[in-house]
């Protein structure tokens, strides 16, 4: 992810990479060989201290390192924008500390929940906000990928820093909170399929203050999901809204305020505009553009640390199931 964001930011500015921090010697050697003008710091605190022209940093390290890095940066520089890959950190307690610290600064901050910038999920948000399907009553949702079918190695599989909730769940949980707010009740279970220390599958049923109820299934061990896939289906008093990475489908039983009754299917290619530079999915470019724009003003970008802390709160509750 570090390379992807470095690429998108460089492309948006039309400027080469000039400074980065990386600890892994092999990767440092690669960067030095390919981008000789780039200055690579092994220690990010030195980078922040020695590069006064830095306007912002993009943190794409393992999840358990996010909190200490963010706190170090906030202590060192009050005006440095911070973008961190999702999720904000591993637990809600750290998230609260980060949010408290960032409030004392002028630091533009953003978390890499880029699904909010994906054409289909954004359209779904608009349709829910305008009440097309009436009052939401029930939803089912999943975040699946086909990655783990044997014991894995590394921090993703350690009890303190990994598990499918932290690794595969954040996008879906962020979307649910973005769409419906924070749930007030939660139940469900977690299950190990291949990993020894962490869960490979989660089923979390939740209820929201509005009366909406539903569930989220999260797993990295589901076959036939070559790419990670997020899916949400919402039943309302006037129809059904279905959204995934590929499409938004609206089935209306009666006329809504703006749309006659009927079925409407909008596929991603119809909704997705071209972007200044496409690397990975278009939403990376759109999201990084917003962060760049807000660096000048010090304004936080949606979703910011406060938004992301809500995801940590929900993940903590799932972790206690």
């Amino acid at each position: 992810m570090g390379l992807l964001h470095a690429g998108v930011h460089s492309a948006l500015q039309g400027a080469p990479l000039i400074v980065a921090s990386e600890k892994e010697g092999f990767i440092v050697r690669m960067i030095q060989k390919m981008i000789p003008q780039a200055k690579i710091y092994e220690d990010y605190t030195e980078m922040v201290a020695n590069e006064p022209d830095l306007e912002g940093v993009v943190i794409t390290t393992p999840i358990h390192t996010h909190a200490p890095i963010i706190m170090d940066i906030l202590k060192a520089r009050e005006n440095l924008g911070i973008f961190v890959e999702k999720p904000l950190c591993t637990n809600y307690s750290d998230a609260v500390k980060i949010c408290t610290a960032v409030k004392r600064t002028k630091c533009a901050n953003m978390v890499g929940f880029q699904k909010r910038y994906a054409a289909t999920f954004k359209r779904a948000k608009d349709l829910l906000s305008t009440g097309e399907i009436g009052q939401p009553q029930f939803f089912k949702s999943y975040s699946f990928m086909s990655d783990i079918f044997r014991k894995g190695k590394g921090w993703r599989f350690d009890k303190e820093s990994g598990g499918v909730t932290l690794e595969v769940g954040p996008h879906l949980l962020d979307l649910l909170i973005w769409y419906f707010g924070e749930p007030e009740r939660l139940t469900g279970f977690r299950k190990r399929l291949y990993s020894e220390q962490v869960e490979d599958y989660v089923h979390a049923a939740m209820e929201f203050p509005s009366g909406l109820a539903g569930y989220a299934d999260i797993s990295w061990s589901i076959r036939n999901y070559r790419l990670p896939e997020v899916y949400v289906e919402v039943n309302g008093t006037n129809g059904v809204l279905t959204v995934c990475d590929d499409y938004v489908k609206l089935q209306l039983e009666g006329d809504s305020a703006t749309t006659p009754a009927g079925t409407y299917l909008h596929r991603r290619p119809q909704l997705q505009p071209s972007v200044p530079f496409l690397l990975g999915d278009p939403e990376f470019c759109l999201q990084d553009q917003v962060f760049q724009d807000n660096l000048q003003t010090g304004r936080s970008s949606e979703p910011d640390f406060e938004d992301a802390a809500k995801v940590n709160s929900l993940m903590d509750k799932i972790g206690n199931l």
Binding site: L4, D147, K153, Y247, S274, P276, F277
Partner: protein
């Protein structure tokens, strides 16, 4: 009347579960496909106007090539491998970590002294130099497919995946692109292929750095809907119209299935300087219809599979 296309190629996306419109549809197609079906569709495509196969270095194709060589050893067609099969390496990196994945990948080379044969040194010789690493990786990937392909299949170009090409463009890695082109030209005596979803940016990068398009083929989206044409459809069309010296293969001509075949053909025919297309098909019937339409005039309908 529009000039006939010089090259019409079949792509492999439907065979490996890639569908830019719908993952549901990709899963459905995959359940209907097997190696026998893949080689049947390939032979139908070749019998109806396709001259070559653009394929990711996905392990599934090794079996298809072996079976094709056995069943139809006289079959002649062009090979356009595309590497790396990115998703496979993403998965491996998830399981083993980035460094673990690379170590294991090149660790395979130590068996049977292949490292020395390939690079005249040990694994550290490769991993200390990203360009040498890329060259060794290309040799490993291409080698295993050339070994099993039908004897009369001919290598025509070796494509580098858009995830590498576009990353190189964004980070301005001129030497990486130059060395890749030079290596493919020198080692395999074919054009180096570059896949991009940022066509205008690629052309600007080549121009700014005084790089030549002589020994390259560029594969990039061109379709009526502007799907995956960045920064805009108009910019991509303008650059294509201005540069008759660039060998371009249009991909995504059906915009992932959003555009009808006749509309796609009409759009392609009217693009100046475009002489080649690649399109994926998942059935024999679809192959007959698609490749006959792209070849402008119907060729004589042939049996679906020549046995």
């Amino acid at each position: 009347m529009a000039k006939p296309l010089e090259r019409v190629l079949i792509g492999d996306n439907p065979f490996i579960g890639v569908d830019h419109l719908s993952q549901d549809r990709a899963r459905e197609k995959l359940t209907l496909l097997n190696v026998q079906k893949e080689i049947s569709v390939l032979q139908t495509a070749f019998a109806n106007g396709a001259s070559g196969f653009v394929f990711s270095t996905h392990p599934a194709h090794l079996e298809a090539f072996s079976l094709l060589a056995k069943e139809n050893p006289e079959l002649s067609f062009e090979l356009y491998p595309l590497l790396p099969y990115a998703q496979g390496y993403v998965r491996s990196a998830t399981e083993k970590g980035m460094v673990g994945m690379i170590s294991e990948l090149f660790g395979q080379l130590s068996w049977g002294g292949k490292v020395k044969a390939l690079v005249g040194g040990g694994i550290s010789t490769i991993t200390a130099n990203p360009y040498k690493m890329l060259e060794t990786f290309v040799d490993m990937e291409i080698g295993r497919f050339l070994q099993v392909a039908p004897p009369k299949a001919k290598l025509k170009a070796v494509f580098l995946h858009e995830i590498i090409v576009d990353l190189a463009l964004s980070l301005q890695l001129r030497e990486l692109l130059e060395r890749y082109v030079s290596y493919i030209n020198g080692q395999y005596h074919v054009k180096a292929g570059l896949v991009t979803r940022n066509f205008e940016r690629l052309v600007q990068f080549f121009e700014r750095n005084g790089m030549s398009f002589d020994n390259t083929t560029i594969m990039t989206p061109f379709n009526k809907a502007g799907f995956q044409m960045n920064p805009t459809k108009e910019a991509c069309e303008r650059v294509l119209a201005q540069r008759s010296d660039i060998d371009v293969i249009a991909m995504s001509i059906l915009a992932a299935g959003m555009i009808r075949l006749d509309e796609a053909v009409g759009y392609i025919e009217n693009l100046p300087n475009l002489t080649s297309v690649v399109v994926g098909v998942s059935s024999e019937e679809h192959a007959v219809k698609t490749f006959q339409a792209l070849r402008a005039r119907p060729v004589e309908s042939r049996p679906l599979v020549a046995r």
